[in-house]
Symmetry: C2
Subunit: 198 residues, 2 copies
């Protein structure tokens, strides 16, 4: 499957990626970096400078079996990935509640909506109802292009799909409705300035 | 140890509690309910009525080994609890960013500050700097009493400790500085009205 979910799902078939992702090794070369890595670096940058407090939520797991070896840390011996009930990132920036989901695709011409779960759409709708700022960051990995789409605009494409329309957002539709983020060195994805305009 | 941390630490010695907690069985009797259960019920209540969008963050785990049995879900075979870098609960309520930690103690006369981690204090300070609302909910389990203490007040007791003062907050000090939440049936811990006064 071409898409990496920055949530529990990312662990499914690939054996390499999850291990790579679990290592918190933030080199500044972008080779093989996941969108999650890029966002974690950016959020660390914001945190260290007191610009915003935004964190990725831990991957939700259902813990079934835990062992307690004497004199050492508890070891989880059986657990399963749960579907997250919210988006992956949230926090506060200058009094505003910030909430977003991050998705990447290898696709070159459109973003497949199947990567978004109903409950994530539902969650973002609830956030907006509470006057929070909700959006999605989409990375077109093979194009090295990044877009921020407000939930209000994403919802239009989502509703088009559920009412029988196309199951993806065309790249040119994103160019027209979303804001493109130009990746930089440090921070990698400087998305805060864009939120001013959302 | 008398204290249940609503974070990863809760899994350490007790073999019973974590299993009980992992089962999302929200009966409305309060027998043996943890503070986490009570808060999850309350947050579900708020969510269902569109009053607030506040979730507990998943327990952060460091995943070391994942198996992929053919035709079934990935199984985590080795993982460890990580110390959370933030508080356990956050979300949005009427445009405000809400962030809190929940702790319970069996102690009857004071709340031991050793249950709070530096990084949680540091996180709450950052949240307040970003104009978020940060506080702690303390349950005195054996007294069935609950207090909400603003981070700004908690910090005073924390600083008293790190400058060599007492290592706990006396119950009467909480009565004087915190706001008591009277537990109810539904929702169990109706804390939103209190935030108006924070």
């Amino acid at each position: 499957m071409a898409i990496n979910y920055p949530n529990g799902k990312k662990f499914i078939p690939s054996k390499e990626k999850p291990v790579a992702k679990k290592k918190k090794d933030f080199s500044f070369s972008n080779r093989g970096k996941t969108l999650e890595d890029e966002l974690n670096e950016t959020n660390d940058y914001y945190l260290q400078r007191g610009l915003a407090v935004i964190h990725k939520k831990p991957v939700p797991v259902q813990i079934v079996k835990v062992e307690y070896p004497s004199r050492s840390a508890a070891v989880i011996r059986e657990a399963y990935f749960r579907a997250p009930s919210t988006t992956d990132y949230n926090g506060v920036w200058n009094g505003k509640y910030i909430d977003f989901e991050a998705k990447e695709t290898e696709n070159k011409t459109s973003f497949p909506l199947k990567n978004i779960h109903d409950h994530q759409i539902h969650h973002m709708a609830q956030v907006v109802k509470q006057k929070g700022v909700a959006f999605m960051i989409i990375r077109f990995s093979s194009l090295e292009r990044y877009f921020i789409i407000r939930f209000e605009d994403l919802e239009v494409f989502w509703n088009r799909m559920i009412t029988g329309g196309r199951k993806s957002i065309a790249l040119d539709e994103l160019e027209a409705t979303a804001i493109e983020v130009k990746p930089g060195a440090f921070p990698r994805l400087d998305y805060l300035p864009i939120l001013q305009n959302l």
